[in-house]
């Protein structure tokens, strides 16, 4: 299932980022503050692990989502940058490579070995808890609060997405 530009827009809206109707979400700019190419690569590399294989075109989705969010929420951008930096340090220590340069299986293994799969999600917690919050969970939130992510599960208007009041009325008669 393809993640579209509209998914990025609605994920941003769901995440509290104002996106004017018809606005064009460009690729990230210098206004994105602490989130640069390195951080973006880390996010994309995490997304390729935590998103299911059915999701395609994650790069454009992640870049637009991150760009829009970073511009509106500088504290969040700083948290992402710190978490990405820690993840790279960890990968360098244990795998002698930046996280984004590892293959998908190794990235999955790195995240699990640091405990990001079972860690609490806490923006003010330990390094691993912040990896869970700012990288893993932020990407999962962007996906599963979007119509595309919801539809993968069977709900086209997931919680957090302003998808109107028609879908709750629809269903197959028994």
């Amino acid at each position: 299932m393809r993640l579209t530009r509209r998914d990025a827009v609605v994920a941003l809206a769901s995440a509290g980022v104002a996106v004017a109707a018809g606005a064009t979400l460009e690729a990230p700019t210098a206004d994105d503050g602490p989130i640069g190419e390195t951080e973006r690569d880390v996010l994309l590399a995490v997304a390729e692990v935590v998103y299911p294989d059915e999701v395609a075109d994650t790069r454009a989705f992640v870049e637009r989502y991150v760009g829009g969010r970073a511009a509106e929420r500088p504290d969040w951008a700083a948290g992402v940058a710190d978490a990405a930096s820690y993840l790279d340090e960890y990968a360098q220590s244990w795998r002698d490579a930046n996280f984004a340069d590892l293959d998908a299986a190794d990235r999955d293994d790195v995240l699990r070995s640091m405990g990001a799969d079972t860690a609490a999600s806490d923006p003010e917690g330990t390094d691993v808890e912040r990896v869970r919050y700012y990288l893993v969970n932020d990407l999962l939130y962007a996906l599963y609060a979007s119509p595309t992510g919801g539809r993968l599960v069977g709900i086209e208007n997931p919680q957090g997405h302003p998808g109107g009041t028609a879908s709750y009325q629809r269903g197959e008669p028994r």
């Binding site: 709900i155 919680q159 997405h161 998808g163 009041t165």
Partner: protein, 527 residues
């Protein structure tokens, strides 16, 4: 003069900017009176709501933090048989607890006002449904209630709701046939939520997070009437917790509300009339804190009833799964319920057919210990066929359930914190068990595999704080009179759920609003 310094003596000082305080302030300011509202909590930035919604979905942090509740400012003690999670049940700030409420707005039934006479339980209100009926209609217009006149058990009404009811959900249709087989009538839910644009706010857009936050503003909250009051000239001072009400030498009238601003300075707001609209816990707490030589047991407490008769509604529920898609968690509100068991022998029960049974996929994803294809597989397995019937059960008012001042703990200002003693009685336990029986029958009829039940042991409060300054005609046994004025003090009005004598099993906010509008009418006439 700082922006939180008191105004020169005003006509009305309102304590609390929740629905009751906001409605009174709006009506009286619109009528041309000088009004100051003192609110303990902050004025939240409306633009923060989407971020607060995200907080509510993500597992990080404590749910209280969605509206910044908790910490020394909000300290309390719970010492009764049952723990009472006070800070989960309220919001301090402009808009009050309506910022996180569900938004269900039913009128009490006629029988609720005559509980002692009709059933020999609880006590009668000193007013009846007919007295409150015009104010209910007024309140429905004020809150923008979406509803339909399809409830055969509801009290009589002369006019339609101001907005059309939300249509039933897909899962409602599954329940409807089951209930029909059982002879149970179902009907729509009155919601303080825009089914169409109303009062400057758009229609609901289906974020699905009504409780604890509506990012769009389609769910009514009291910031609407705060804004209206301010447009009419009222002054609202936030982060201004009132610590004492002071009376004159004779003890006949309140003369000032003493509050503290964030810089630690104490201030006195004087006024001709005072309105205590701080809810069913902070209201009685302030009266008890305001004890004096003249009133050693607390202000307005000659009866000894201040803080007593604290009651709530109890949740009862059951749920399970069917082999079909039930389409849950698209929206965060309900569209069908049944009042059929409200006035039966088993205790007051209101049944709610939930539109949010089972897991929300995004919440489940954020709390999972897996990701990728494994996570998606788990989400698919978990989502799909859930059904649940919830409901509210009446709690009777009993003197031993009460709000007092802690003898051992103080808040960040050095004032004793509220101590809540709360327990269930046999009546509630029986009614919850009866509700569970009905709920299981319905689920069985719907073909569900029943997997959970919330019964008397697992139940919890619905966060409706009632009864702690009860209304009555006898100053020996009640705190306020039928016009919501304290028996002891001629210029202190308490329009709140604390004035409820009994609470039935109906969500209380529409009745709070009706009482507030009634009080505002009396005050306007006095001023």
């Amino acid at each position: 003069m700082s922006d939180r310094a008191p105004s020169p003596r005003v006509d009305v000082c309102v304590v609390g900017a929740g629905p009751a305080g906001a409605l009174v302030a709006d009506r009286l300011a619109t009528a041309g009176h000088d009004v100051v509202v003192l609110e303990a909590g902050p004025r939240f930035d409306p633009d923060s709501r989407e971020e607060r919604m995200e907080r509510s979905i993500r597992p990080a942090g404590d749910p209280r933090a969605v509206w910044d509740m908790g910490g020394p400012r909000d300290a309390y003690e719970s010492t009764g048989e049952r723990a009472y999670p006070l800070n989960r049940s309220r919001v301090k700030g402009v808009g009050g607890s309506s910022l996180h409420w569900q938004g269900m707005v039913m009128r009490l039934h006629e029988a609720d006002f005559e509980s002692a006479t009709r059933r020999g339980l609880g006590a009668d209100w000193p007013i009846d449904y007919a007295d409150l009926r015009p104010f209910y209609a007024d309140a429905e217009r004020a809150l923008g209630v979406a509803g339909a006149s399809d409830n055969p058990f509801a009290p009589p009404r002369a006019e339609p709701h101001p907005l059309p009811a939300f249509p039933p959900s897909h899962s409602d249709s599954l329940f409807a046939s089951a209930c029909e087989d059982l002879g149970i009538a179902t009907h729509s839910v009155p919601n303080a939520r825009n089914s169409e644009p109303y009062d400057g706010e758009g229609a609901c857009v289906g974020y699905g997070t009504c409780q604890p936050v509506c990012p769009s503003g389609a769910k009514y909250d009291a910031t609407r009437h705060v804004a209206s009051a301010e447009a009419a000239g009222a002054r609202v001072i936030d982060r201004a917790p009132v610590r004492r009400l002071r009376h004159d030498d004779a003890g006949d009238r309140v003369v000032a509300a003493e509050y503290t601003s964030p810089d630690g300075r104490r201030h006195r707001q004087t006024a001709r009339q005072f309105v205590l609209a701080a809810g069913g816990v902070e209201g009685p707490r302030l009266l008890l804190l305001s004890r004096s030589e003249r009133y050693p047991d607390g202000l307005a407490n000659s009866s000894g009833a201040v803080g007593k008769y604290f009651h709530d509604h109890l949740f009862a529920g059951a749920g399970g799964t069917v082999d079909a898609d039930t389409r849950q968690n698209h929206v965060g509100f309900n569209t069908t319920e049944s009042h059929q068991f409200y006035e039966g022998d088993g205790g007051r029960i209101k049944l709610e057919f939930l539109n949010y049974a089972g897991p929300s996929p995004v919440e489940q994803a954020l709390g999972a210990d897996e990701w990728g294809d494994d996570l998606l597989s788990s989400l698919r397995d978990a989502y799909g066929g859930h059904l649940a019937v919830g409901g509210l059960v009446e709690q009777l008012p009993r003197a031993e359930n009460r709000v007092t001042l802690s003898a051992t703990r103080t808040d960040d200002r050095g004032d004793p914190v509220p101590e809540i003693e709360w327990s269930l009685g046999d009546y509630e336990r029986r009614a919850i068990r009866r509700a569970n029986e009905i709920q299981r029958e319905i689920l069985d009829a719907a073909g569900a595999d029943v997997q959970w039940t919330v019964g008397p042991d697992a139940t919890g409060p619905a966060f409706h704080h009632m009864g702690t300054t009860r209304m009555g005609t006898d100053p020996e046994s009640s705190v306020v009179d039928p016009r919501l004025r304290a028996h002891d003090l001629a210029n202190l009005t308490i329009p709140s759920s604390s004035a409820f004598v009994t609470g039935g099993a109906m969500n209380p906010t529409l009745t709070i609003a009706a009482l507030a509008l009634k009080a505002a009418e009396h005050l306007d006439a006095d001023l």
